[in-house]
């Protein structure tokens, strides 16, 4: 009987958490039209976007280079190294760009968001805003949510572009694939809507999920040092799992058998 009661309790707890998370989301999204929030959002874009730029660009470069190296060794056996361009471009645009960016973003910016909001809660800054008759959801949470939503798709596009350049670096400059065929076969294979835009749509969905988890975990954290460290870990774990799971669902919808 005990385990049944525990199952019921944990289910109820989950539902309650979903309810609180929706409340946080709704409370922050209603704050859209406030002009005062624009400078705050720009400031947060600096924190979550610009400061993640270096790790995103470096990772993108290396992933593109590795893709080219791996792809070349396989393709060259079939004399098909001309297809290196589309192989690198498609795998980065469709999968690696959105997914790796989202995972890095969760680790770099998501955890920081959780810790920051959690600490503001622990040091009573959120309570203090409440007592000043200022809604912390609008002032603190909303700019961070918007900054995350805007920044991650931008980072994804940059990641993909840098990755393809990295593929060029290894494939063309180092392994000697013909530059003309690298780019022209890529161009004839990659489609703007089906490949580039679908990747961007994926990253918008991931941005939403990762940022939502990050701000909710911070806002809902237990305001102690253990509570915040647990919340930070949960942000990274939950958002990574959510990204990988959603990636499968989105891929099935976008590129699945018609």
């Amino acid at each position: 009987m005990e385990w049944l009661a525990n199952l019921g309790k944990s289910t109820l707890d989950r539902f309650a958490a979903v309810g609180r998370a929706s409340y946080v989301l709704a409370g922050s999204l209603i704050a859209v039209p406030q002009l005062k929030n624009v400078p705050l959002t720009i400031k947060q874009m600096y924190v979550v976007g610009v400061q993640s730029l270096s790790i995103i660009m470096v990772s993108g470069l290396f992933i593109g280079m590795v893709m080219a190296l791996q792809g070349y060794t396989i393709l060259v056996d079939y004399g098909a190294e001309g297809s290196l361009g589309p192989m690198v471009a498609l795998s980065i645009l469709r999968e690696l760009g959105p997914v790796v960016t989202a995972l890095l973003f969760a680790g770099r910016a998501g955890s920081a968001l959780t810790a920051e909001i959690g600490l503001m809660k622990a040091t009573e800054q959120l309570s203090s805003l409440e007592m000043m008759a200022i809604d912390p959801l609008r002032r603190i949470v909303a700019p961070r949510l918007w900054a995350g939503l805007l920044s991650m798709p931008m980072l994804t596009v940059i990641f993909s572009a840098v990755g393809i350049l990295g593929g060029h670096l290894v494939g063309v400059e180092w392994l000697g694939v013909d530059a003309g065929s690298y780019w022209s076969i890529m161009q004839s294979t990659v489609e703007w809507n089906a490949d580039v835009m679908n990747g961007v749509i994926k990253s918008i969905v991931f941005a939403f999920v990762v940022t939502w988890i990050a701000i909710f975990k911070g806002y809902d954290s237990v305001p102690t040092s253990e509570g915040i460290s647990a919340a930070t870990t949960q942000t990274v774990v939950y958002s990574s799992l959510a990204v990988l799971g959603l990636d499968f669902v989105l891929t099935a919808i976008m590129f699945g058998i018609e």
């Binding site: 040091t123 800054q125 409440e130």
Partner: protein, 286 residues
């Protein structure tokens, strides 16, 4: 509980043998509050007179801060009512509550300064949010408030560069930025050195007199608060165990109140956490 409240918040409080008429800014009526399974308050009533300093004292961990959060409307009572100027706080709409909160302010234990902005911007923050004042005017107001707490020279510093006592003074300047009617102090003396403590006692007293504020001080520092409070409530064990002017409290014949005032290790609040007897513990359970 006297209930002739048709006259604009005039309620008489009976204190010992003297009876006097004061305006009550806040009235708490048979309030009960539970946190999970744990009862924090069981049917307590108290009044905060306007323009006076009221102290709420009690041992640590009995939820004194909770009382302030209840008054500020951040928590809702399970039963009973809290009235601010005769208006019930728990039944206010969110927007009404936000309007009412502009008349109150709270000094948090940690100061709760916003860490990412300078002292100046911290104090300007409520002004920029709630008023349309020009930047020049805001600067004047902020510097005046900082002057009042003696930190005008520290306006450019970041909160991380302030000592604990200075942070609390800066937070106090922020709390009075919008000239509220009510200030709630949450443990203002906790963890302060004697000098900072003296400065804070002086500030609370002076602000109360100069701005005609109503102050609620929640604390367990007996000597400091007895010197500034007009009226004292002592909370323990989910209820009010003593109330009156500091003089009346000192002469109280309640053991619990005397234990608290004199800081005795043992008494009605036992030194030992409830446990088995020593014999049982060491000789085996018999």
């Amino acid at each position: 509980m006297p209930n002739e409240t048709n006259i604009e918040y005039h309620v008489s409080i009976t204190t010992g043998n003297s009876e006097f008429l004061v305006k009550n800014l806040i009235e708490i009526e048979s309030l009960s509050f539970k946190r999970g399974e744990r009862v924090i308050y069981d049917n307590i009533s108290l009044q905060i007179p306007a323009g006076k300093t009221t102290a709420v004292m009690g041992p640590s961990g009995i939820g004194k801060t909770t009382l302030l959060k209840l008054i500020g409307g951040q928590l809702r009572p399970d039963a009973g009512d809290i009235k601010f100027k005769q208006e019930s706080i728990p039944s206010m709409s969110r927007s009404r509550l936000f309007k009412v909160r502009r008349q109150m302010s709270m000094l948090f234990q940690s100061g709760a300064l916003f860490t990412e902005m300078s002292v100046f911007d911290n104090i300007a923050y409520p002004l920029r949010e709630h008023t349309q004042l020009s930047e020049a005017l805001i600067e004047t107001v902020v510097l005046m408030k900082l002057q009042a707490v003696g930190l005008r020279g520290a306006s450019k510093l970041m909160p991380s560069e302030l000592s604990g006592g200075m942070a609390r003074r800066a937070a106090l300047a922020r709390a009075i930025a919008l000239d509220p009617e009510l200030i709630m102090y949450d443990e203002p003396f906790a963890g302060q050195d004697p000098i900072s403590m003296g400065v804070l006692v002086k500030l609370i007293k002076e602000l109360n007199n100069a701005l005609n504020l109503t102050s609620v001080v929640v604390t367990h520092d007996v000597t400091e608060v007895m010197s500034i409070a007009d009226y004292v409530y002592i909370l323990a064990d989910k209820r009010i165990i003593g109330a009156g002017t500091p003089e009346q409290i000192r002469q109280s014949d309640s053991d619990l109140v005397q234990q608290f005032l004199q800081g005795k290790a043992d008494g009605p609040v036992p030194f030992h956490y409830p446990a088995n007897t020593l014999e049982q513990e060491f000789m085996g359970a018999n």
